[in-house]
């Protein structure tokens, strides 16, 4: 059994330093990996990234993260990424991480994701350049997620994003803002690649459980949704293997 701990939207800053650490100290007994689903900072500053690095660095399990929109706010995603990597945190944007657990392998493909909306209620790359740029950002990210997931040859495959691949996990958010919360293109990439689980954040008022059109489990792990320092999902490779 592979035990996947996950949390998103911790929105750390100097004022919240150390709040999660006590709960994380026992993580080695409860999980094999910790996934961070973006919005790790408030403003995306380098000093906030250092708080995140101190909070999640040096844990007994590998830590794999994607950035969220807040982590881009100060226009320094590369610097934020570098600070996290220096602390031993793996930061993915179109890349993959593979972790061995008791002779089995867990593969994680991660992207930030973006908005655009869900099938039948979404924007398209048409009209003004601003609209085309918006949708193309989503399309590019969904393509890189699909390529990354496709490249994994592991016993269990997990997609890690900040934005949501499905509307199911957004219930509780106003429907009018769904196009800013995720894109069906992420879900399509997940469904095309024999992925076992999709984990995301971003929707603070959403709910935890959902499913892609292809039947893949989706979990919204935004901290205000899971209401704890992290949550744990157990996946049995023998059961999920085709």
């Amino acid at each position: 059994m592979i035990r996947i701990a996950a949390v998103g939207d911790v929105h750390l800053g100097e004022d919240a330093r150390g709040r999660l650490r006590p709960a994380l100290e026992q993580l080695g007994d409860r999980a094999d990996v910790l996934l961070l689903a973006g919005d790790l900072t408030r403003h995306g500053t380098v000093s906030e990234a250092r708080v995140v690095a101190d909070e999640f660095g040096g844990l007994p399990v590998p830590v794999v993260a994607v950035l969220g929109n807040h982590d881009h706010h100060d226009d320094k995603p590369d610097e934020v990424t570098a600070v996290l990597r220096d602390a031993g945190i793996t930061v993915l944007e179109g890349e993959t991480a593979t972790i061995g657990v008791d002779g089995r392998t867990l593969g994680v493909a991660g992207v930030k994701g973006f908005g655009g909306g869900f099938a039948g209620k979404c924007g398209s790359a048409f009209g003004e350049p601003e609209m085309k740029a918006f949708i193309r950002h989503t399309t590019d990210i969904a393509d890189s997620l699909r390529i990354a997931l496709d490249s994994l040859d592991t016993d269990v495959k997990v997609a890690l994003t900040h934005y949501s691949p499905v509307p199911d996990t957004l219930r509780g958010e106003p429907p009018e803002i769904y196009p800013f919360l995720g894109s069906y293109l992420l879900g399509e990439a997940i469904d095309a690649t024999e992925t076992h689980l999709a984990v995301h954040g971003h929707a603070h008022f959403g709910n935890e459980q959902g499913m892609t059109p292809g039947g893949v489990r989706v979990r919204n792990v935004a901290q205000p949704v899971i209401r704890s320092a992290y949550t744990v999902y157990c996946v049995e490779p023998a059961v999920v293997e085709v």
């Binding site: 939207d9 004022d15 992290y230």
Partner: protein, 82 residues
């Protein structure tokens, strides 16, 4: 939209864009002279910061603050996916 809805939209925008808060995860409801804030934030200090931003934009409003600090304890139990 009513004047209250426009005011709520302006307050929501201020909470999202003011560098003191950059808070998108808080609901803002205006009723008469009162503004209700609800949702979760990562530290107790952030409630005071939000109240300060609201006061700058609409000093005439009384703030009702239902915002909670998000729980950060280890989870009870786990979910088995099969």
């Amino acid at each position: 939209m009513t004047a209250e809805q426009y005011l709520a939209a302006r307050l929501r925008q201020a909470l999202a864009e003011d560098p003191r808060t950059t808070e998108l995860g808080v609901r803002v409801t205006v009723r008469g002279d009162h503004v209700l804030l609800s949702g979760d934030v990562a530290s107790p200090e952030r409630r005071a910061e939000m109240e300060a931003v609201i006061h700058d934009v609409a000093p005439e409003l009384t703030v009702l603050d239902d915002v909670k600090v998000v729980p950060s304890e280890a989870p009870v139990g786990r979910e088995e996916l099969r």
